[in-house]
Amino acid sequence: MAVIDLANPTRFLTLVNRVLPWLAGATALVFAYGLYRVGGAPDDYQQGATVKIMYLHVPGAWLGMMAWGVMTVAALGTLVWRHPLADVAGKAAAPVGAAFTFICLVTGALWGRPMWGTYWVWDARLTSVLVLFLLYLGMLALYWTAEDPNRSARAAAILALVGAVNIPIIKFSVDWWNTLHQPASVVRMGGAAIDASILVPLLIMALAFTLLFFTLHFAAMRNEILRRRVRSMRMMQARGA
């Protein structure tokens, strides 16, 4: 199936229907294997067993950030090419990305308590993830408030682009803010090099999370296409009367 065919939502729908079970299956398999490897992974010499949280935390962080990347690309698709599937892709990515960012935040907080003695510090990296989460919430609010999906798609695309420009600036300002006020009082995991016995399970989990992301993303896109179909049918109905 040529790429151009995907421009057609119906074709895309057919594709999704065909691919989704396999994707879901692969996700489950990789997850199972990843969790098995995680179970077998050694404890960190500094952090003990709590390093097991990392296998959720880090993929969550990566996917949370990647989802905004997907939204940015989709935004360009919406604004520049006016591609109907781009709208759908952007909208479907928002809740999933927000959920992964949320996972990163919660697992980080749960990790912070045993490691730092507190659930939350206003550390630069934590804080910039929090702001990313706030941006996601804004995006969800935007989608939530708009009755008309076409309207909200373009508005969201603009917000996604503005956010994409702003995220590096926020990151930079937060670094500056944190170092200005308070020298880091927190110890992060020492040692630049991560041992392969930890790294490999981590990468497998990251793969599992990525698969999960795409499974959910495609499923959400399918819902969105159907929702628009319902909408256009209702519009038909309205004009019939």
């Binding site: 009755e147 008309d148 209702r234 519009m235 109905q237 309205a238 009367a241």
Partner: protein
Amino acid sequence: MSTDLIELSATDLACERGGRLVFSGLNFAVSAGEALVVTGRNGAGKSTLLRLIAGLLRKSGGRLDLTGGAAGADEATTAEQSHYLGHLDAVKPALSVGENLRFWTTYLGAPRGAPIRPALEAVDLAQLSDLPAAYLSAGQRRRLSIARLVAVPRPLWLLDEPTSALDTQSQDRLAALMRNHRSRGGMIVAAAHGPIGLDDPRELKLGAVT
């Protein structure tokens, strides 16, 4: 609907808006089955008069009485005995057509669970009952607003340019509804710039102020 002999009468009625007298010394009476068309130039006070009767403005002088029927003599009661159809449609886009009508029906006092379908049919919106009202065009929203008049029986209809935004077919349907309302002893006071399909209405011409 109460079919007792009922009458709306105004004596020496006056109203002030924004510190200016819009009209004064107005006298008229409408009784069961009658219709009064209020005409006059832009700014003459047609909308003002209707809102006054509906209890949405305060009169600054004179008397306004609704006698007979289930009504007492005070303004509040006039409001409760009237339907007001103004320029705004009181339709919530987020609710479906049916939900919109059901809410107003319940709120305005029809017995709970009374069917709304006949009213929707009367304005030809029955097939759209489940549709969110956001999808309606200007004229369809107006028709939904008219359905309220049918769903909750109240003796006095106050209609401010009711045919605006309606296509000819819907105008005919409204005319039929008004005829039916009057035949059952209802009263109509309508503001209009042209004919709106009322049979031999009485006319009240408000003087042009400017």
